[in-house]
């Protein structure tokens, strides 16, 4: 079956549109995660999204909706809670991570949810995206790109050093919380597309590769989006050519891009050039 023939199927068209939006926008969140050291927060959000999925299965509604709701609420609450309790965001994330995982297991147990059903939340499926999913992905992606374009100057200062951003008169706390909120929503949507276990394919891997070769924040954002798009589209294509799961194919392409960028950095000193 040829590529054009494949694209005549609605599920393929949906996957393609999903990748176009998420491939460009979600790696920008990866830049935030790497620069602001939000890896524990990302883990916490993955577990909150899992709890949301569990709630969805328990109530027999679309798991994406409670996932989005819980991730949104948790990401809004995490910053102020860690600030009031005077604990780091990492510690607060650890608390959320274990608590939500425990609650998810209770739901799976009490709701007699089959292990394979629960596992489907962890795996995700980019080929099962509905029109409603695409609308959500488009809205969140547009919001992420808009945030970066409109507040680039402020975001640059916050990613460089939050204390400096505050010192020069930028309302850094509000913007930082907005970044955390968007991160929560992106993780919930990524889980539907690619599954909790492989979220990094869209969010983190492209930003990691871009960080090897970028010499400005603009380049970092642009390369991240480019790599996200390339790994998403070629991963989708390879998954059909090689008959392998789409999520895994996207991860493999993303990993190859990281290795190539790492070699470019080491051999040609792309990033270390003075």
């Amino acid at each position: 079956m040829g590529l054009l023939e494949l694209l005549s199927f609605p599920f393929m068209q949906h996957a393609l549109v999903g990748i176009l939006f998420a491939g460009i926008a979600f790696p920008l969140i990866g830049v935030f995660i790497i620069s602001l050291d939000l890896v524990p927060l990302r883990f916490a959000m993955m577990h909150v999204a899992l709890l949301g999925g569990g709630v969805g299965l328990f109530l027999e509604v679309d798991p994406l909706l409670p996932g989005l709701l819980l991730c949104g609420l948790a990401s809004l609450a995490l910053g102020p809670i860690s600030e009031r309790a005077k604990i780091g965001l990492g510690t607060a994330s650890g608390f959320f991570m274990t608590l939500t995982l425990a609650l998810a297991f209770i739901l799976f147990y009490r709701g007699n949810i089959h292990v394979l059903q629960a596992f489907s939340i962890l795996w995700g499926n980019i080929l099962s995206l509905t029109r409603g999913d695409l609308v959500l992905i488009a809205i969140i992606s547009t919001f992420i790109v808009g945030l970066v374009l409109l507040f680039f100057k402020e975001i640059q200062a916050i990613l460089y050093d939050r204390e400096i951003a505050l010192g020069v008169g930028i309302p850094e706390r509000g913007l930082y919380y907005l970044i955390v909120f968007i991160l929560g929503l992106s993780i919930a949507v990524s889980m539907r597309m690619i599954g909790a276990l492989l979220i990094d394919a869209f969010v983190l891997l492209p930003a990691m590769a871009a960080s090897f070769i970028s010499r400005s924040l603009k380049q970092l954002f642009l390369f991240s989006s480019l790599f996200g798009l390339v790994s998403g589209l070629s991963g989708l294509w390879f998954s059909f050519v090689l008959d392998i799961p789409t999520s895994s194919a996207i991860i493999l392409v993303g990993s190859v891009i990281i290795i190539v960028c790492g070699i470019m950095k080491r051999r040609f000193g792309v990033h270390a050039k003075k």
Binding site: S35, D37, L150, F151, K153, E154, Q156, A157, L159, Y160, D161, E163, I164, A165, L166, G167, V168, G169, I170, P171, S211, S214, R215, S216, L217, Q219, L220, H271, A272, K274
Partner: protein
């Protein structure tokens, strides 16, 4: 506007430790005031209180004629208070020197607006004064500790502050560079008629440049010169 900075009877506990126990220090307009003390005496904490990053448990801070406790949002004041921190950012984000200095203009430019040619001119002037114009296109994390300190100074100058807060600005420098940067700071202080507040552990270095010197010891302040 009064270009003065006054801190009265400042108390602060961090955890179980009473770091500041009734500190009173003041800098009149255009005065160069230094605060010396051993490591851990609370000097950096005091600077954070001075620009409102930290709120004291008790006491009053009056900066540029405004009582800081009366405001929830201090961004309007921070635009006029330049800060040079002791430590440079630890991350390896690809930020060029000119971009890091231009950040000093952010508060003045306003949200969602891009820097104009006037802002860039002011950033380049600040780099020239700090002696880092030649590094403008380099990444900040490629520079030495001393050069990064000058980037922080240039950023504070680009801000066109009325008050300049300096947290051990000579920490990473050798002796020759220490004198060099202190001379630069001192001449900027006079040329721009700044009110300068500097903390340092090196009392001998700061004495020759300061109008007033306070010693911070056991959570209390003592005017020693």
């Amino acid at each position: 506007m009064h270009h003065s900075l006054e801190l009265y009877d400042i108390h602060l506990r961090l955890g179980n430790v009473a770091v500041l126990q009734g500190i009173s220090v003041e800098a009149a307009p255009c005065e160069f005031v230094s605060i010396v003390g051993a490591n851990g005496a609370g000097k950096t904490t005091l600077l954070k209180i001075a620009n409102g990053t930290l709120r004291p448990d008790k006491g009053k801070v009056i900066a540029l004629g405004h009582d800081l406790s009366q405001y929830r949002n201090l961004n309007f004041l921070r635009k006029s208070i330049g800060v040079v921190s002791q430590k440079s950012p630890a991350n390896r984000l690809p930020i060029r020197v000119e971009e890091a200095v231009l950040m000093g203009r952010s508060g003045k430019i306003g949200m969602m607006r891009r820097p104009g040619s006037e802002d860039r001119d002011k950033a380049y002037e600040a780099m020239r004064v700090a002696g880092i114009e030649a590094f403008a296109k380099k990444l900040v994390h490629e520079l030495s500790g001393g050069e990064q300190q000058k980037v922080a100074l240039a950023r504070a100058l680009a801000q066109e502050p009325l008050i300049l807060l300096l947290d051990e600005p000579t920490t990473y420098l050798d002796q020759v560079s220490q004198s060099e940067i202190m001379e630069t700071i001192h001449s900027i202080h006079h040329e721009r008629k700044l009110t300068t507040f500097m903390v340092s552990h090196d009392s001998r270095l700061v004495e020759q440049y300061s109008d007033k010197v306070y010693l911070l010891q056991d959570g209390k302040s003592h005017l020693i010169r």
